[in-house]
C-alpha cells in the first residue's frame, strides 16, 4: 500500500517543519509550562493559605478550567482577548494581541489549573515539621515557602510536572484552530499544498511519539534518582 507514497516530500519540508513549526511548538510549550508553573503555584498557595475567600477563588478557577475542553478555551480566548484588552486599557478599539500571545496566555491559564493541583499535592507531601522548623528559625511565611517548602515540593513533584508538560507539548497542536504554524500546522500546510496527507501526518505522528517517548523515559530515570536521594 505504500507503493505510491512519496516520502521525499518530508525531506524537502524538513527545514520548514522544524525551524518554523517545531521551534514554535517548543517555545510555546516551554513558556506555557513556565508560566503555568508560576501561576499554578500561586493558585496552590492561595488554596492552602487558610484564607477562605482566596482559597475559594482559586478553587473555582481551577474547577472551571478543568471542566472546559481546551479547544474551546483556545478558541474563545482568541476572540475575547482583544475585547478584554480594550476594556482593561480603556482603548477605543479592540486590542490586537496576535495569535502567539493569545495562545500563550490561554495555555498558561489552562495549564495553571493542572500545575496547581500538582503543586498542591507536592506542598501537602512536606511534613508539617519542615515549615515549623523554618518558622522557629525566624523565617517569615514567604521565606519559609520560598526557601524550604516550595523547593522540596517542586523536587518531589518534578516527574509529575514533566509528565504534565509532555501532555502540554501534545496539546499545543490544538492551536491549529487559530491556523498557527506550529509543528502540526506546518505539516498540515505542506500536506495540503503537495497533496501528501498520509506521508505528512504519519511523519508528524512519529515525531510527536518519539519526543514524548524520550521525555517519558527521562522521567523514569529521574524518578529512580529522586527515590535514591530520599
Amino acid at each position: 500500500m505504500f507503493g505510491n507514497l512519496d516520502f521525499d516530500v518530508i525531506r524537502r519540508a524538513l527545514p520548514y517543519l522544524f525551524f518554523e513549526g517545531m521551534t514554535f511548538t517548543l517555545t510555546l510549550t516551554g513558556l506555557a509550562a513556565l508560566g503555568g508553573l508560576v501561576f499554578g503555584t500561586a493558585l496552590a498557595l492561595m488554596r492552602l493559605s487558610g484564607f477562605k475567600i482566596l482559597g475559594r477563588i482559586a478553587g473555582v478557577y481551577v474547577d472551571f478550567m478543568r471542566s472546559l475542553p481546551l479547544v474551546l478555551v483556545i478558541f474563545w480566548f482568541y476572540f475575547l482577548v482583544p475585547y478584554i484588552g480594550q476594556w482593561v486599557t480603556g482603548a477605543s478599539r479592540p486590542i490586537s494581541v496576535g495569535a502567539f500571545a493569545s495562545s500563550l496566555i490561554t495555555f498558561i491559564m489552562f495549564e495553571a489549573a493542572y500545575f496547581s493541583e500538582i503543586m498542591r499535592a507536592g506542598i501537602q507531601s512536606i511534613s508539617r515539621g519542615q515549615p515549623a522548623a523554618a518558622s522557629a528559625l525566624g523565617l517569615t511565611y514567604g521565606q519559609t515557602m520560598r526557601y524550604v517548602v516550595l523547593p522540596q515540593a517542586f523536587r518531589n513533584m518534578l516527574p509529575v510536572l514533566i509528565t504534565q508538560t509532555i501532555v502540554l507539548f501534545q496539546d499545543t497542536s490544538l492551536v491549529y484552530v487559530l491556523s498557527i504554524t506550529d509543528f502540526l500546522g506546518a505539516a498540515s500546510k505542506v500536506a495540503q499544498r503537495d497533496g501528501r496527507l498520509v506521508e505528512m501526518y504519519l511523519f508528524a505522528a512519529v515525531v510527536y511519539f518519539t519526543i514524548s517517548c524520550i521525555a517519558s523515559y527521562a522521567v523514569r530515570r529521574l524518578q529512580a534518582r529522586i527515590a535514591i536521594v530520599r
Binding site: V148, Q152, R230
Partner: protein, 243 residues
C-alpha cells in the same frame, strides 16, 4: 527569661490540652519538662515561640509578649532556638547551608560570616567534615547535632528542646546529650522536654511534671527526685526509673 502565666489551650471546644499552666524559666536556668505521652509537653513548649496559638493566658520571652498581635514573631523566634524530636533538617540543602539559611535571610549576615559561624559550630559539635553532605547521609545522632548547631547559629538567648533524643537509636543518645550538657554548663537558658532523667539529674535546676495538660509539679531538682509531692509524679518516676 520565659514567663508563662495561666495559659489555657483548646484544640476543640471539648478538648483542652493545656489547663492553667503557669511557670517561668530564669536566665541561665535549665528546666526539664517531663510527663506521660499526650500530657501536653510539646504543645506547651511550642506555645513559647508561638508555633502553637493559645486561647487565654500570657507568655513572654525576654519581656516580649508572644501572644500580642503586634509582636514581630519572626524576629522573636529568631532569638529562640528550637530543636525538634525529628531533627527537621532541610533535606534539599547541604549541612552547611542548613546552618546558613536563616543567618543570611533573617539576620542578614553576609555569606562569608554565616559560613564562618556555621563551620565554627559544626566543629563544636564534631561534624566539620560533614559540612558538604546532605542530611540524608548522616546518622540520626549526627543530624540532631546539626540541628542544635543550626539553632545556635542564630545566637539564641534561650533554647527549647522537644524530646531531642527520643527518635534516636540508643547508642546515639549520649552524643546528643553531651552537646546539651556542654551548653548547659556554658550557662545557656534551656527548656527541655525529655525523659532522660540522667540528663535532668546532671544539669537541670528545676523539673516540671505535666499530666493531662496541667503542670502537676514544678520543683527544684533535688526536691523532685527526692520526694515528689504528687502521686502521679511518683508513679511516673518509678515507671521510667525502673527501665
Amino acid at each position: 527569661m520565659i514567663e508563662i502565666s495561666h495559659v489555657n489551650k483548646w484544640y476543640t471546644p471539648s478538648f483542652q490540652v493545656l489547663t492553667d499552666c503557669t511557670t517561668s524559666v530564669t536566665k541561665g536556668e535549665v528546666v526539664v519538662v517531663c510527663g506521660p505521652s499526650g500530657s501536653g509537653k510539646s504543645t506547651l513548649i511550642k506555645c513559647v515561640n508561638a508555633l502553637e496559638p493559645f486561647q487565654s493566658g500570657d507568655i513572654s520571652v525576654d519581656g516580649t509578649k508572644v501572644n500580642d498581635p503586634k509582636t514581630n514573631l519572626p524576629k522573636l523566634r529568631s532569638r529562640v532556638g528550637m530543636v525538634f524530636q525529628h531533627f527537621e533538617l532541610f533535606p534539599h540543602l547541604k549541612i552547611i547551608d542548613n546552618l546558613c539559611l536563616a543567618q543570611e535571610k533573617v539576620l542578614n549576615r553576609s555569606r562569608d560570616k554565616a559560613m564562618a559561624k556555621g563551620m565554627q559550630l559544626l566543629e563544636r559539635v564534631g561534624l566539620k567534615e560533614q559540612a558538604q553532605k546532605f542530611p540524608a547521609n548522616l546518622s540520626g545522632g549526627q543530624q540532631q547535632r546539626v540541628a542544635i548547631a543550626r539553632a545556635l547559629a542564630m545566637d539564641p538567648i534561650v533554647m527549647l528542646f522537644d524530646e531531642p533524643t527520643s527518635a534516636l537509636d540508643p547508642e546515639m543518645v549520649s552524643e546528643v546529650l553531651d552537646v546539651m550538657v556542654d551548653l548547659a554548663h556554658e550557662g545557656m537558658t534551656m527548656m527541655v522536654v525529655t525523659h532522660e532523667m540522667g540528663f535532668a539529674r546532671k544539669v537541670a535546676n528545676r523539673v516540671i511534671f505535666m499530666d493531662r495538660g496541667e503542670i502537676v509539679e514544678d520543683a527544684a531538682k533535688e526536691d523532685f527526685f527526692g520526694k515528689p509531692r504528687s502521686d502521679r509524679a511518683q508513679k511516673f518516676l518509678s515507671k521510667i526509673l525502673s527501665h
